[in-house]
């Protein structure tokens, strides 16, 4: 399962990097989106992929699992590690805001310059 996730992360990051190297502005923004998704998946994998109950506890005694992290065991029942999920939620929200902003910025830049080719947007010194 981890191998599969690793391959998927690699694929997402690879495609994202390829898109980043394009000249078209929208493709570059899409590339950063894919890279963000790849890293989110990596965050999920960092908590170890395994099944367990939703980590919502009524009780008070919480003990972390053994070395290497991932998963919480209370009274013999295993729960999934909640931390990576919280991290991903945060990362997704931040990614959403950044992506929305970069699309608007890209759009305004296209409006201003009439081109979405980054080679034409290199600019001259201090106009």
């Amino acid at each position: 399962m981890e191998l599969l996730a690793a391959l998927l992360i690699g694929l997402l990051l690879g495609v994202g990097t390829y898109l980043l190297l394009e000249r078209n502005m929208i493709r570059i923004v899409l590339g950063t989106m894919l890279i963000t998704y790849g890293t989110n998946l990596m965050l999920l994998t960092s908590g170890r992929l395994k099944t367990g109950r939703a980590p919502l506890l009524g009780g008070s005694d919480i003990q972390t699992a053994a070395e290497g992290g991932g998963g919480i065991v209370v009274d013999g029942i295993s729960y999934v590690d909640p931390v990576p999920q919280a991290l991903i939620l945060t990362a997704i929200v931040i990614g959403l805001a950044t992506t929305a902003f970069s699309f608007v910025l890209a759009y305004r830049t296209v409006q201003e310059y009439g081109t979405d080719d980054l080679l034409e947007l290199r600019g001259v010194e201090h106009e």
Binding site: L89, V104, V110, Q111, E112, G114, E127
Partner: protein, 164 residues
Amino acid sequence: MVRARIEQNPIVRVVVHTSLYGLKLVAIWILLRGHHEPGGGFIAGLLIAAAIAMQGVAFGADAAQAIFPIPPAYLLGSGLLLSFSTVLGPALMGRAFMEHSAGVIGLPLFGDVVWSTAVLFDIGVFLVVVGTMKTVLLTIASDRVQVRPAQGEQDTSDSEREVS
């Protein structure tokens, strides 16, 4: 052109119109159960954002504006203020900042109801998400694409930009 056709499509209009109520109810349900079960202000806010997007597709941007008809800046500001007060409040009362409290209260009709200050925080998050998504969706949706040919930067007059 595609836009215009969708807006005139009766099936889309009816489906959107009827499902909006359900969507709003589900959003409120998810918002309120958030602190004990999966859910919360963020997801509820996204549901409302989906409602706004659907409304926008079916009935146009003006109709979408009518959901939460408060200017987004105030929506964002009040949501942030609500969340912020649950962060600062405990600190002013001598506890750790962001400390939440909960308890059970007996109400006449509902029986024992669990209250929690975390709900206030969540409602704040909800308002912020709705405000943000509404701004993003409506800003992009209401803009008419008008790509000017590349010219010098000097001759892009301000009046022209107001129109576009």
